[in-house]
């Protein structure tokens, strides 16, 4: 009898048979958010920030004192960062001034320069739209903090009541869902937020030191791409080349960017991966690329950024919905866990 066998974080089930189920769960997550974003952007921001904060709050230590201290610290940090960046953000991702694309160039250099300028303009437009959609007002942030705090305070009684109302035959399943759903999502949100913060911050700093025209936008793209395993940072680094000053500087800045990228990647690996590897559901690089490209085809750059996190969220939801069996916690192959 196996009574002390660890429950796996992700049940090792057949992957191919669950693609449709995953797509359905992903659609179930995406559609309400999409409708909300289109119909009422302020409500979307409130919902998104409340979910994010609630996820972070579920990873706070269970000791009441430490929980309160860390929660207060998080609130202060968020409010300070918001106040600090709110006036600066529009300037940081503003369009490049006209004429900055070296008009004296001829031939291929002029063509490359025109393409770079067009790409840069497109990316900056996307960044501006994105920040307009996601960046919350102080009131929204305060309300989200309040709601997340309330939800965190109400979680134990809510948990008790939901468990009590479960029918006998669904007791174990309900207990599993109530334990796993906040735990998996909380750890995943915390870990991906830390990864995005670290990689986005280092990339913005590196591109600023290299003299890129819009290091804040480059950092924003890296932060958005960091949750996409392996391919995301590569894609964001590629996009950042559009922010190189001009074709003359491009080779030098690209070389510098390669070094900064290596440093960023290494820093994320050395500082975060050993601690955070388990919160990311295993998804092969091939599938990740396929989903990301499908996202890109459907919704452009934004689609690329959200495809892999969406699938990760769907896999977490799928794992929380299905009970594991003792067979599913036999050691999986080393390839099943991939780091980026």
């Amino acid at each position: 009898m196996k009574t002390a066998m660890p429950i796996p974080t992700v049940p090792a089930r057949e992957e191919s048979g669950h693609v449709l189920a995953l797509a359905l769960i992903a659609a179930g997550i995406l559609l309400p958010l999409l409708i909300c974003a289109l119909a009422a952007p302020p409500l979307f921001r409130l919902l998104l920030f409340t979910l994010w904060l609630n996820g972070l709050a579920s990873t706070l230590p269970p000791q009441p004192g430490r929980r309160l201290c860390l929660g207060a610290l998080l609130v202060l940090l968020l409010l300070t960062l918001h106040q600090l960046f709110a006036p600066l953000l529009p300037g940081l991702i503003a369009s490049a001034p006209p004429g900055s694309a070296a008009p004296a160039l001829h031939g291929d250099a002029a063509l490359i320069s025109r393409h770079l300028a067009a790409g840069r303009s497109e990316l900056l437009r996307f960044a501006r739209q994105l920040t307009a959609l996601l960046w919350p007002s102080t009131a929204t942030l305060a309300l989200a903090l309040l709601l997340a705090g309330l939800l965190t305070a109400l979680r134990p009684p809510l948990h008790r009541e939901l468990l009590r109302l479960a029918p006998n035959r669904a007791l174990t399943r309900r207990a599993w869902l109530l334990r796993e759903l906040p735990d998996r999502f909380g750890r995943w949100i915390r870990d991906e937020s830390l990864r995005s913060l670290l990689m986005g911050g280092l990339w913005a700093l590196g591109t600023w030191l290299l003299g890129y025209s819009h290091p804040a936008a480059a950092g924003l793209f890296m932060a958005l791409a960091a949750p996409t395993p392996f391919w995301g940072p590569l894609f964001a680094a590629g996009l950042s080349l559009f922010f190189a000053l001009d074709p003359g500087h491009l080779p030098l800045q690209a070389g510098g960017a390669a070094i900064v990228f290596a440093v960023t990647w290494l820093a994320a690996h050395l500082l975060l991966t050993p601690r955070l590897a388990l919160s990311r559901p295993p998804l092969s690089r091939g599938w990740t690329l396929l989903w990301a490209l499908a996202g890109y085809l459907c919704a452009g750059v934004g689609g690329f950024f959200i495809a892999a996190p969406l699938i990760a969220a769907a896999r977490h939801a799928d794992g929380a919905l299905h009970l594991p069996t003792p067979r599913s916690c036999e050691p999986t192959s080393p390839q099943s866990v991939q780091f980026s």
Partner: protein
């Protein structure tokens, strides 16, 4: 056996009253304040005869205290007929694997007659362990005592059986 099944068909849990957990062996070491704290996390369920509480191989997420009725712990066997390991009497606990960390139930548990149980979710134990470790430790001690009693009884039975077989010259 005592029968207190007012509504055996009602499946959702009911709030637990303090007098219901007074005679639970595993809670012997808890202070009245500790019991009161634990009570907020407990709820009472009624199971019909032959209804399973949990099955072997399911993740162990709830600890059950039998208030009335009787339960059987059974393990799957190769013969296809489950081996009955123990009959749980009122006042005893089952499903202690829920407090052993991430684990699976090592046996199935089913009600032999209409039975009432108090359910303690694993989350409650983790919260107690973090916030009020004294209560969690007292609960663990109580469960350990109960497990040791079971173990001694099993040894006694086994030893008696061995003696009997030795005397009958089946084992030399």
């Amino acid at each position: 056996m005592e029968r207190t099944n007012n509504k055996p068909e009602k499946e959702a849990g009911q709030p637990c009253r303090p007098e219901e957990i007074e005679y639970l062996h595993a809670l012997n070491r808890l202070t009245p304040a500790g019991r009161k704290r634990l009570l907020t996390w407990l709820h009472v369920r009624t199971y019909a005869a032959d209804e399973p509480l949990f099955r072997q191989g399911e993740p162990a997420l709830c600890l059950f205290f039998l208030l009335s009725g009787s339960l059987a712990l059974e393990a799957d066997s190769r013969t296809g007929r489950p081996d009955r390991l123990k009959i749980v009497a009122p006042g005893q606990a089952c499903g202690s694997a829920a407090l052993a960390g991430d684990a699976f139930y090592g046996e199935s548990c089913l009600a032999l007659e209409p039975s009432r149980v108090a359910v303690l979710p694993q989350t409650a134990f983790h919260q107690l362990l973090a916030g009020q470790p004294a209560i969690a430790a007292a609960l663990l001690q109580g469960l350990l005592e109960e497990t040791l009693d079971d173990w001694r009884q099993a040894l006694r039975t086994y030893s008696g059986l061995t003696d009997h077989l030795t005397r009958a010259n089946i084992i030399v």
